[in-house]
Symmetry: C2
Subunit: 291 residues, 2 copies
């Protein structure tokens, strides 16, 4: 049980965390700060936070748990803004979709206090953003990846596990590098592909006519293309090395299938489709709850 | 109102058509044939068809409406099997996802009776196949593309429109070439990409670990990768020219985005993501019904 959550970033991710933590009875008070004062005010009006802080630093002041829920590209500047009030006893977490860049910033800026920081990636989200969409169920049953480093205080890692499990999440620990490779493959690359597919269509002369004919398969395949541009710009850039590596693997696989199509190699093509179809049909999304 | 539907292929697409046509009161009797006798028997037991035909030719005998619901690669052989009983007065339709290859087969095989054939593509389906999944609602509210040619009898086109509209579909007419370009872009390429993405992941050493972390975005993006291998092998091969052309456009768009990622061009990247996100967020799936 915590006394005070310092919430930096009162949008979808941060706001949902505050609501979930309060509902679970894990915190008494939430002090929130957002870059835009109107967001902070709205968060208070909605009961997402209890007290508005005029700066990130003041949101941290007096907190025993702090969540950074800012775009990954704003992480380093946020660490700089708060570092003077980060203490050994404070549990500091983030929610970023990339981990190596966030950890590099934490090392550079927090220095001897880096042990307080437990890097987190809750695998949850929506295509909409903003505090209006904050939802205490956003994290329910979802996976949360923790990527602690050597210097991370083991007691804080343990606390972080308790917090997320208290929100009924499934906690997985892994190395930051492994995290970034995995999410390049299963999340960042699919987003990049979906963006490129849509752009390739709309820039063709008959693009709008094509789109008017599309059905449910297209709808689901391209759902992630509607994601928030600034957030995804930052993620794709932050994890560029792993992303480009995964894209290379994908393009080689695509080229091999195209070669079979070109050559009319029905048998080879069927075997590859069968492999994909079988793998996907047997895949099940991990969840903290059986459903 | 028709007297007798000759159904060739009693699987998901054909079986659903028979059920929908009967429910709408548009046919008195359904005579069905499937390549596998056990499928035909099962279709009769389920009430999808009324009479089992021992051959495609006998399914056509006495019918005033005929639906070919066979894999696109089996279309030409099916036309050959039935051509002696195709008459001027009979409405003959198919449900194939590609149209130029089907029309080429029809011209070659049906010759002077080609006027009876109205090429159709109902934009509907499921990731499962077989008569067990036949569903009278499968076509409800969906788009159906008709691609008549010069030789198609206009009276049959009119009848085909009435049939599909009678099943509450939205009918769109277009040239076969335009159809095949459009579906290469919005359906065949997304399937090929989804297959290649899954294969690229599962062939990596940590592929299974990657998959275990994937969330709802991945689930929706890859749903179509679970599709039926033989059916999709045939579609990708049948429309190879348009598919490879659309894949080229996609790969060029992807390469341009990758170049920006490599160069850290945040502004250019954001503009392209914004274009995709805006286009997708404003897209609405066409439907015969407002929902």
């Amino acid at each position: 049980m915590f006394e005070q959550l310092g919430l930096i970033g009162c949008g979808l991710m941060g706001g949902s965390f505050a609501l979930a933590l309060k509902r679970a009875g894990l915190v008494k008070r939430v002090v929130g700060y957002s870059k835009s004062p109107s967001t902070t005010e709205r968060a208070r009006q909605m009961g997402v936070i209890d007290v508005e802080a005029p700066s990130a630093l003041l949101a941290v002041s007096g907190a025993d748990i702090v969540l950074l829920a800012v775009p990954v590209a704003a992480t380093e500047a946020t660490f700089k803004a708060i570092r003077h009030l980060v203490t050994k006893d404070m549990l500091l977490m983030d929610v970023g979709s990339t981990k190596r860049d966030v950890i590099d910033s934490a090392r550079r800026v927090l220095r001897e206090q880096v042990g307080s920081f437990v890097p987190c990636h809750p695998v949850a989200g929506k295509e909409v953003s903003g505090v209006e969409h904050a939802d205490p169920d956003l994290y329910l049953g979802k996976q949360v990846i923790l990527t602690p480093i050597d210097k991370t205080d083991p007691a804080h890692v343990e606390n972080a596990v308790k917090v997320w499990e208290g929100l009924q999440c499934k906690v997985v620990k892994m190395a930051p590098e492994a995290h970034d490779s995995a999410f390049a493959a299963i999340s960042h690359l699919p987003h990049l592909i979906a963006f490129a597919l849509i752009n390739g269509i709309v820039t063709q002369k008959q693009g709008q006519e094509f789109l008017s004919l599309a059905g449910p398969g297209f709808r689901d395949f391209t759902r992630i293309a509607a994601s928030e541009p600034k957030m995804w710009r930052d993620i794709l850039l932050a994890n560029r090395q792993e992303l480009l590596q995964q894209s290379k693997v994908f393009q080689e696989t695509l080229a091999a299938m195209e070669k079979m199509i070109e050559n009319g190699d029905a048998e080879g093509l069927e075997a590859l489709i069968e492999q994909a179809s079988h793998s996907r049909a047997h895949w099940r999304m991990a969840s903290a709850r059986k459903s």
